[in-house]
Subunit: 452 residues, 2 copies
């Protein structure tokens, strides 16, 4: 056809067909039901936020990755003068709104805007897509879902404990074997203070992380490159030499971290692990002193989950932030939250074949269509089967049986009900099991029993 463009979708975005949807919904439903069991309530925020809400919250790189919405109408005239030659600056003349980049900033905005309606501590979850103009690559998309669960308005460590319980429950329900890594931003700050380089917290954690891979000598060389003095590097050696299990490491740290913040971090981690052990959670949890995600953001606990049986980065991240709503003029509200990476969880479950058989299934029964008077009987049979809780299709045309069976086959529908003239007159049906290729004529109620 002339002039017709082969349809496509923007790069980095995806269509989800029925099978993918059923599997994705299985993940979302599982996560959601655990959230609910712990008393978290759902909220949703608009896809578009004012750019004043979004800009400056994700760093310069984040600002660039925001999808901006062109103002409606005559945006050039409304720009109030010629456009700046710089695209970043011109964008702000012709765009006032952007697509949400994560669920955290909209949540902070929500809490401040609705503070008078909220009973604190506020426990909410939010499962919605976010958009980032990232370079698309394998496993990284420009539209993807986040599943966030947060509690704000309490600095009690019980909130962290509860999130750990949720992690245990969700991954147990999904059947994914995981390890939850925990660290604390205060310990990292304490380390940096202990070596006299409070601004080099990230470099120090990266160094600890690389120790196993590149060895002490190379780590020290790298630190020197990053600008740490010989003295600072020397002060770091006891930290790099940390050995043993969690308790032993914490004991050693207790000697090394003498600042208030460092000691507070050790205390928080010890308390959290104490609860985890007392509750006997069915979850592998470890202290990972190299865990440093979202450093400029978190102020206490830091969480990350990795799947154990396959190599797919992090499938969950989170932590405590002490002043999330401060950016919107409501200081002093501490919160802690985690975000489940639904896309990566999907990838893990697909790779390890963890989706239950029943997920992604199709219609229970196809009622074949013999046309004429039999058509109405087919509709009646279908209606009765639906009332029994089955999902039922009637083939819309009295096509050849081969075509109708072919449809059932392609859709993976196991049972086909045949009700032609004989069955209609006898007010029964013939049930064909596509799996065993057997068929028998029986009453509707017997058929229901067999199918269920």
């Amino acid at each position: 056809m002339a002039g017709v463009v082969k349809p496509s979708i923007p790069k980095g975005t995806r269509d989800f067909g029925p099978v993918e949807m059923s599997r994705r919904n299985y993940i979302f439903d599982t996560i959601r039901s655990v959230f609910r069991r712990y008393g978290y309530m759902p909220i949703e925020t608009p896809a578009q936020e004012n750019l004043t809400t979004l800009l400056g919250k994700y760093g310069d790189e984040g600002d660039k990755l925001l999808f901006k919405i062109l103002n409606s109408g005559d945006f050039l005239t409304a720009a109030g003068g010629p456009l700046n030659a710089n695209s970043d600056k011109a964008a702000l003349q012709i765009s006032e709104k952007g697509l949400r980049y994560d669920l955290t900033v909209p949540f902070a905005r929500y809490v401040v805007q609705h503070q008078s309606e909220i009973a604190f501590p506020f426990k909410r979850y939010q499962i919605q897509p976010v958009w980032r103009a990232d370079r698309p690559q394998k496993g990284r998309y420009r539209e993807f879902y986040q599943c966030d669960v947060d509690v704000v308005g309490s600095d009690s460590l019980l909130c962290e404990v509860e999130l750990v319980q949720i992690v245990a429950d969700v991954f147990k329900a999904l059947g994914i074997n995981v390890c939850l890594k925990i660290n604390n931003r205060k310990i990292l700050a304490g380390m940096a203070e202990a070596v006299g380089a409070p601004d080099k917290m990230t470099d120090i954690t990266v160094a600890i992380d690389k120790l196993d891979k590149i060895g002490l000598e190379n780590v020290n060389a790298e630190l020197a490159e990053k600008g740490l003095s010989t003295e600072q590097i020397s002060a770091l050696q006891p930290i790099l030499a940390l050995q043993g299990n969690r308790q032993e490491k914490l004991n050693s740290l207790q000697q090394i971290l003498t600042s208030e913040v460092g000691r507070k971090g050790i205390e928080e981690v010890s308390t959290l692990f104490g609860y985890i052990e007392s509750l006997g959670l069915d979850l592998k949890v470890e202290l990972d002193l190299t865990l440093a995600r979202g450093l400029n953001y978190y102020t206490g606990a830091i969480f990350e989950v990795k799947a154990l049986d396959t190599e797919i980065g992090s499938i969950l991240g989170g932590g405590r932030y002490d002043n999330l709503t401060g950016i919107f003029g409501m200081p002093g509200l501490s919160g802690v939250g985690i975000s489940f990476g639904a896309d990566r969880i999907y990838d893990v479950m697909t790779r390890l074949e963890l989706f239950p058989e029943a997920v992604g299934t199709t219609t229970d029964v196809l009622v074949a269509n013999f046309g004429g008077d039999d058509e109405l009987y087919a509709l009646e049979v279908a209606a009765k089967l639906r009332r029994e809780g089955l999902s039922v299709e009637v083939f819309p045309e009295s096509a050849k049986m081969k075509k109708q069976m072919g449809y059932a086959d392609r859709r993976g529908i196991r049972y086909v009900v045949l009700c032609g003239e004989n069955e209609r007159l006898a007010q029964n049906i013939t049930l064909k099991d596509m799996l065993s290729s057997s068929q028998q004529t029986l009453s509707l109620s017997s058929a229901v029993e067999q199918i269920k």
Copy 2:
């Protein structure tokens, strides 16, 4: 706080808090479960579509209402020359993507793009937000959800019958008293042909619609204004004089509509109503010859649903389109679908107080926090209650009882479990019923029985 902007969201968009979310989910879940019962499968498409997919599909007005995404990066340089002074034209130089405007065009695009994976007839549903840069007003939003259910790849009227069954099931399940209005585009075309004014189909249906309100004389005057000749107006009089119940109207039309398309329309409507009567659906259905929605789009049946007990426009619309995928180069695929207006359904249910009590509820149980050793016991009690299927919160801090009770009260949580030292030592709990203000000390299993 200096420099802090009071947070807000773009006009025409909304935040949904826990109560609204629970109610909205109740609507979506009800609709979804009916769709599933009829064998429709979910799909989702990206929020962003290429503008080539969207432009020209919704008329000039629609093109203006599309939200366009500013290209990422240095869009001015990539524009390949100075921007056109006309904003509409300049937009196309700096924007390649737009937010989806409805679910129908993305669905058509999906079918064409994935045709090799699809078993036809393809029965899909899709529940996602759409965006329109409409002037915001009461009940009209710039972001709102559509719930579409369509079958493509069959021109059998059984598809229409099934959609009518779905309408009946959904509104019965939601408890909304509705009337389904049905018309057929072919009848409207036949009328216009019969009066010799095939291009005046809309004016004619509007005229019929106004007959009751403004009277025959005024209607005829209006038609003359619209450019119908005296002859044409005279030829229309038998149609304006149509009287009686559905069958009587159809009988009269049979005399008036002599063109092939007109007769086909009458036959389709008669067949559809025949099935509806035979199936004995629990639904008020009427033939409405003035129904003319989406004329440039639909080719057969047209559907619209109104709630009967309150004045809130249409809460569902739909119809048959014979060449939806033709715009994307896949002609000859007939489809029929309906779209539930979730926002209006929400408004109807709110106004008529149709939401069940249990919807919008909160956590089942709050376990009060007495601190110290009792805290761990509270966590254990909560974990056990959750295993019984209850949703349970532990108050995260050992705050004053007044504060904890106030939280339960504000959240509308009915049961508060008190487990202090006495209860911990006796391994029981005290259950407070906030509704009756009574409390009793009992075993955990007795408490579960009482709560459930």
